[in-house]
């Protein structure tokens, strides 16, 4: 007997149980994460209070929440978050605009694929952070080097992958359908290639967005004076670990939101579902 856990949970639930527990069971998808969160916060709070560390080194969650209130009140948190989101968005879009057509092109043209693929494979494993010195040298200070780094970090993950799918067996088979109904080149691209690779592309974009969000923090520790990365660096210099933690929390929260948005994109339209 291999019944799902839910089956046994239902068996355990009876009329005699308190209403609250039934409510918790019905909303377990929200309740359980909050239980974890509460336990974590409790452990954190207790450690901060009784470990003997100074609150300047290891601030308690209540202190961090209080500081977050401060940063929200004076507008700094909003300003820095917007700055980071702006850089990620610009770098991400620039990368996607170049990388996806390139990926499709390479998938279609074997010669260029053979020529460019080694270069891409060579550049891909170089961490975007290794480009920091060059980025600053080339683009000076301000948004540009940061956007450049995000562009780099987003470019490779979004041009690979579906490049190969252009020649995969399934697509070749759809090309035959296209040929049978006399599609021209443009229709082959818009009605066959793009829809065929779209689910893969969206998954790749979700991954890419995550990487961009990782890199933006490092990029903002360069020559900029805004963004969550800058907030963290600046607060460290001021020895305000509570602000550092606020910055980290904000990065985590916005990261979840971005990922969720990208995940929803994949389920946006029934034409993105595949039977296989």
């Amino acid at each position: 007997m291999n019944r799902p856990l839910a089956h046994y949970c239902h068996l355990m639930i009876s009329e005699r149980m308190p209403k609250l527990m039934i409510w918790c069971y019905d909303n377990r998808r929200t309740v359980l994460p909050f239980i974890t969160l509460a336990v974590m916060l409790l452990i954190w709070e207790l450690t901060a209070r009784y470990s003997g560390w100074s609150p300047h080194v290891f601030p308690s969650p209540s202190k961090v929440v209080y500081s977050m209130g401060e940063l929200i009140a004076n507008g700094a948190l909003l300003r820095h978050s917007i700055a980071s989101l702006f850089r990620v968005t610009v770098g991400f879009y620039l990368a996607v605009i170049f990388a996806i057509p390139l990926g499709i092109f390479l998938g279609r043209m074997e010669i260029f694929n053979l020529m460019l693929n080694p270069l891409i494979q060579f550049l891909r494993p170089i961490s975007p952070l290794a480009w920091i010195p060059l980025a600053v040298l080339w683009f000076g200070i301000g948004d540009k080097p940061a956007v450049f780094l995000i562009f780099l970090s987003c470019f490779f993950p979004s041009c690979g992958g579906h490049g190969d799918s252009g020649s995969c067996h399934l697509i070749r088979f759809f090309f035959q359908v296209a040929a049978n109904f006399k599609f021209n080149h443009w229709e082959t691209i818009t009605k066959i290639i793009l829809p065929a690779i779209m689910p893969n592309v969206l998954t790749a974009l979700r991954l890419t967005m995550g990487i961009g969000w990782l890199v933006v923090v490092a990029a903002e520790m360069l020559a900029v004076r805004s963004g969550l990365g800058y907030l963290i660096l600046d607060s460290r210099n001021a020895l305000r670990m509570d602000y550092v933690m606020v910055g980290m929390m904000m990065i985590g929260l916005l990261g979840i939101v971005l990922d969720e948005l990208m995940r929803r994109l994949v389920h946006l339209h029934p034409s993105l579902q595949r039977p296989y």
């Binding site: 759809f174 049978n180 109904f181 829809p195 779209m198 034409s271 993105l272 039977p275």
Partner: protein, 264 residues
Amino acid sequence: MGHILIQDVCKSYKNRRLERRGPHDLYQPNEMMHVLDHISLEFLEGEMVCLLGPSGCGKSTLLRIIAGFDTPASGEVTIDGEKVRGPSPHHIFVFQHSGLLPWMTVWQNVELGVRNVGDVRARGEIIQENIDMVDLTGFEQHYPYQLSGGMQRRAELARALAANPDVLIMDEPFNGLDFLSHMKIREEIVNMHELLRKTTLVVTHDIDDALLMGDRVVVMSGRPAQVTLNRQLDFPHPRDPKKNTVLGDARDELFLMLGVSYAI
């Protein structure tokens, strides 16, 4: 329309890679594998032709050549006196596995068949007519993954018919269907053929399919494939080999020919 002449068609594939098919046969690189060996056939206008043959003998290959997806090594295929030079909406191929585009609804898929019809209203009518014909009314806005295997097969049939081709080429249209869907779609294809009289080529593994559907049955031998039987079946539909003794004899003969001596 739809007279097909296959003249002396040969086809061989190069085995580029070292391939292990069974425990003992290791294909040598660049060894030529002869698949079709001087195939000559003539299919008349409006005929329903059933192709039989052992698995891997080259039935799909022959169909692909007729459809223009593949070129023969020698010989040629002409349809209505015109040499086949590539895929075209005049001869529509229905694939061995579902050939519907998964990102399009049934309606949009069938619409592919009527791309040359200019008038939008006329186009819509043809689409609806064909969807109704294969009994998919009400499923116009469904995506292929929302349909059962048999419904997908019928949707593809509707798409092929909407193109109003001279020749309809079906590679194992009953592949992967349950028994009842098999029977129903076979009946639908027969009815469709009675109605429209399009030259239809059907590859099947099932001798009874061939006997019940075909105006002509062609049997191919194992690789390299040659035509071992090309026989017209002039019986009215619906047919029953159990009742019609001539058909029954033909059935026994076919089974013998394909290497089965005792068939139920």
